[in-house]
Subunit: 255 residues, 2 copies
Amino acid sequence: MTTRREPQRYLKIADFLREEILSGRLAVGKPLPSESELCELFSTSRGPVRQAIATLRGEGRISSGRGRRSVVLGDFRAERFESTYSVYSRFQEAGIEVQQKILQVSRQPADATVAAALHCEIDTPVIYLHRQRLINGINRVIQHHFFPYEIGRCLLEYDETTGSLHRMLTSRGVHFDNVYRLVNIEFAEPEDARALDVTEGFPLWHSEQRIHSHSSKPVEFSIFKFRADRMSISMSSVRGTRSPLQISLAETVSS
Amino acid sequence: MTTRREPQRYLKIADFLREEILSGRLAVGKPLPSESELCELFSTSRGPVRQAIATLRGEGRISSGRGRRSVVLGDFRAERFESTYSVYSRFQEAGIEVQQKILQVSRQPADATVAAALHCEIDTPVIYLHRQRLINGINRVIQHHFFPYEIGRCLLEYDETTGSLHRMLTSRGVHFDNVYRLVNIEFAEPEDARALDVTEGFPLWHSEQRIHSHSSKPVEFSIFKFRADRMSISMSSVRGTRSPLQISLAETVSS
């Protein structure tokens, strides 16, 4: 397909600029090379160069355009797509080794929440996987995963030695294309408090992931819980871009 | 400047597609128009069309490309840039009317944290503004703002009737171009507990904003605190894009 060519070119230019920033060769506070310099360097027209620059701006790495040359804002790392739904990937990115303990794999009827998330009827059979993630033998994350039956039924074979759950499913042809996450703080109920070794009522980070295929079909619904005091979030935002984020302080969120 | 033309065109196409999605004319699960259709509609080459599509993908609104037509993922609203640093803007976006009570405006020497954030020496005079944000008369947000002296000195004239702090500064030529946010959960100390009418030790959302000009000069450092149980975050992420976000579950975050 001839139409594949140009997108690859802007990604190459974006990768080049990102690497220049992360390596420190393009230092914080310094301006980017000019559009013409980048056009010459990559033997390309302005289109892909501008798209590469817009990509880096969307990642919060360079300041806004507005007719002036953007400057480098920071050399922080942005979250990998895989880390939005894979705790394994997130800890691996942070250089932390994580173990797992699988508590349950079962076929069970979907309740209302799961049915809504997986776009199926209530009581449709789904595959449920319950596990804990441990660091140095201490449980850090409680995970509940729900899959459509056809996707998850291979998980009866999945155990602690198999490695990443999502890599196994990917190798079987499941395509994790996009994720919608919803996060709240909740107060630990007795069961979660015991599992995470905190007092009842301790604040937990409650994160729900709805993962879809390219064509927007649900492939997984998951819930992660961990101590809220062990979490930090950072974000870089640039005028003229919109982040895929919504923080709500609504009065309607129940306490 | 001739170079201004094309970026405006891709933004126009992106605005068109975003509006089609938000209005529901382009429904969730439906494919985008083809590149050639969009080229014809906007009498343009493929470059701006692709950049517009990449922009929407970065906003988490459409699925990944990979040679197939992207489909619409959701009609959620992404956070406005202004809402990353302005509580006024954030509540306005949510349709909630918010009042303010100014507790202190002062010139004072920068401590180590403020000096690091504003890139100045310790003990350099800075302007400090302390205020609360109220909804229906109840205090919801504690805010501490620090400005370089030259930027903030006009704030001695700022009071409850003046309207948005950031609009006033913008009208005086201060350019808020980009924001780096860092969020943690902390447990309420006595003073904050009293101000927010919660028990001591109640979990608070602690958010720090470092705001810079286009050339990366610090224009403001702020700290917002509010009840963690009143907050929710949602995010949409698409394979092949990087969000300007980093969530850390590091073991090194102290409890």
